[in-house]
């Protein structure tokens, strides 16, 4: 079972308290009616699905109920870090060095 650190509660808790919420940093379009079919496809359906570090959203559904972001290695399932929603996407090269 994954142990996940909620950046709001500042506690590391079992996966059962959390709901996975898909890839992170996919911004909602600012001007939807101006979007081409290709852009809609990319926004709605295309996912990076990397084998390695993945930026993803989690929600502390049985705790503070807030969404936050995480970087997790999809091979080892190990969390590299979690951070609050709205914070910038962390620099991977620094994360891996740490």
């Amino acid at each position: 079972m994954l142990l996940i650190h909620c950046p709001y509660c500042d506690e590391t808790l079992p996966e059962l308290e959390f709901a996975y919420a898909g890839e992170a940093h996919i911004a909602r379009p600012l001007d939807p009616s101006a979007m081409s079919d290709e852009e809609w496809r990319d926004f709605l359906f295309i996912r990076s699905n990397p084998k390695g570090p993945h930026f993803e959203r989690w929600r502390h559904i049985h705790g503070c109920a807030r969404f936050f972001n995480a970087v997790r290695d999809t091979v080892s399932d190990r969390f590299l870090m979690t951070y609050k929603a709205g914070e910038p996407r962390p620099d991977l090269s620094k994360l891996e060095a740490a």
């Binding site: 996966e15 290709e38 996912r47 990076s48 084998k51 993945h54 999809t74 399932d77």
Partner: protein, 417 residues
């Protein structure tokens, strides 16, 4: 290739089983092939077989990063059925079911296809309505599927708990009698052996690192752990790893890879006559010919390539099985494992052309592609050989995520295949 027969078995028994030969050679890569298939699962091996058999294309290599059949093909719970809602899916899966029927004879290899019936339990009003809709739609498509009352369901599968106070009450069930199970390894081995006999090279322990493209954008071959191998056409059939392989050709995919887990019990005498699926609680069960209960669960919630998964999911599945079949309460489980399944947004597969000339893809089978193996392999071979999709896979394009013409089995089934 020596043919298998009752006579051969008896003859070898009398000579102490020393006369059996290797079933396929461990091929070394040639410089160039007409077709390279990335991924030696059932789908990739089957496509190689149909390329050779039906299209006369034998200069083919199937390349795998591990051993053949070691991906989801060798890890799945082998449920085979075709009672899907939409016309496109019903036709494709029923085509596969037609091929399953004659597969052992066709391959001269016993894939142990057993039409023992697959029963899907309805636990609430929504399930009842949704399954009855499937039954009606299947009838219109000529696909076998019928509705059973709870009592009829119990008659068909006596271990079932249909008491009104059950944790997961049974309000009825949909039964496809033509459906069943097959031996997963035998499917991979049977296709491998028969394809190899027709000249196909099966190259194992050779990861494809990247797909290479020429100045005109078309495919020229693949970079592998054993160097560059040229190809006129490349078909990617790499299940959970499809996003990674396709990315190397510059194609981003509408896929996410999730862990899917299964487990087996200690072997016991035959007690369980059919396959039972409970999509609502995500518990799937049948009994193998060896006697083990084969139990499948739902996907873990997060993406992963670990071929593992979390214990809470297994716990949930086993708890549900014990509620639905109280006689299994004291059974001991022997082992559990996971695969990496490639899931599309509409839960339907993608089989067809890609934006890259001479690059084809077969993926997105997610939690339910074993049942499709012969059908998918057959239409993939057609697509690669002729450059155009077969009528049965024409709707399963990559482009549907741009046009919006989805085949939304996800919405139809509310998950689980």
């Amino acid at each position: 290739m020596t043919r298998f027969s009752a006579f051969a078995v008896v003859k070898n028994a009398l000579t102490g089983h020393t006369g059996w030969r290797e079933q396929w050679p461990d091929a070394q890569p040639k410089k160039e092939y007409d077709v390279i298939i990335v991924g030696a699962g059932g789908h990739g091996l089957g496509a190689a077989y149909y390329l050779a058999k039906e299209h006369g294309i034998t200069n083919v290599a199937v390349i795998d990063r591990g051993w053949l059949g070691g991906g989801n093909t060798g890890r799945n719970t082998t449920i085979i059925r075709s009672n899907y809602l939409y016309d496109e899916s019903a036709r494709l899966y029923d085509h596969a079911l037609d091929l399953w029927d004659g597969l052992s004879q066709d391959l001269n290899y016993n894939v142990m296809f057993s039409r023992r019936g697959v029963m899907m339990l309805a636990h609430n009003v929504h399930d009842v309505q949704s399954f009855q809709r499937h039954v009606h739609s299947n009838r219109l498509n000529g696909v076998d599927n019928r509705w059973l009352s709870a009592e009829e369901a119990k008659e068909f599968c006596p271990p079932l708990n249909i008491r009104a106070d059950a944790r997961y009450p049974v309000m009825g069930a949909a039964l496809q009698m033509r459906a069943g199970t097959a031996r997963h390894d035998a499917v991979a081995w049977g296709y491998a052996r028969t394809a190899a006999a027709r000249g196909v090279d099966i190259i194992q322990n050779c990861p494809v690192i990247a797909i290479r493209r020429g100045p005109d954008g078309a495919v020229t071959g693949v970079d592998t752990a054993r160097g560059f191998i040229g190809a006129k056409k490349v078909a990617v059939s790499a299940a959970g790893h499809t996003s990674v392989v396709m990315e190397s050709a510059g194609v981003r995919m509408p896929l996410e890879s999730f862990p899917l887990q299964a487990l087996v019990s200690e072997p016991i005498k035959p007690v369980f006559p059919c396959v039972v699926m409970s999509n609502t609680v995500h518990a799937y069960i049948s009994q193998s010919d060896k006697g083990e209960l084969v139990i499948g669960s739902g996907t873990d919630q997060y993406t992963s390539y670990s071929q593992r998964g979390g214990l809470p999911l297994i716990e949930h599945t086993v708890a549900a099985i014990c509620e639905i079949f109280p006689i299994f309460n004291r059974m001991r489980m022997l082992r559990k494992w996971g695969g990496t399944v490639d899931v599309t947004p509409d839960r339907s597969a993608i089989i067809g052309k890609t934006p890259v000339p001479n690059l084809f893809v077969n993926c997105g089978w997610g939690t339910g592609g074993f049942k499709a193996t012969p059908g998918a392999a057959h239409v993939l071979a057609h697509t690669v050989a002729t450059g155009e999709p077969h009528s049965l896979n024409a709707a399963f394009t990559l482009d549907r995520f741009r046009t919006g013409r989805l085949i939304d089995e996800a919405a139809a089934a509310a998950v689980a295949h």
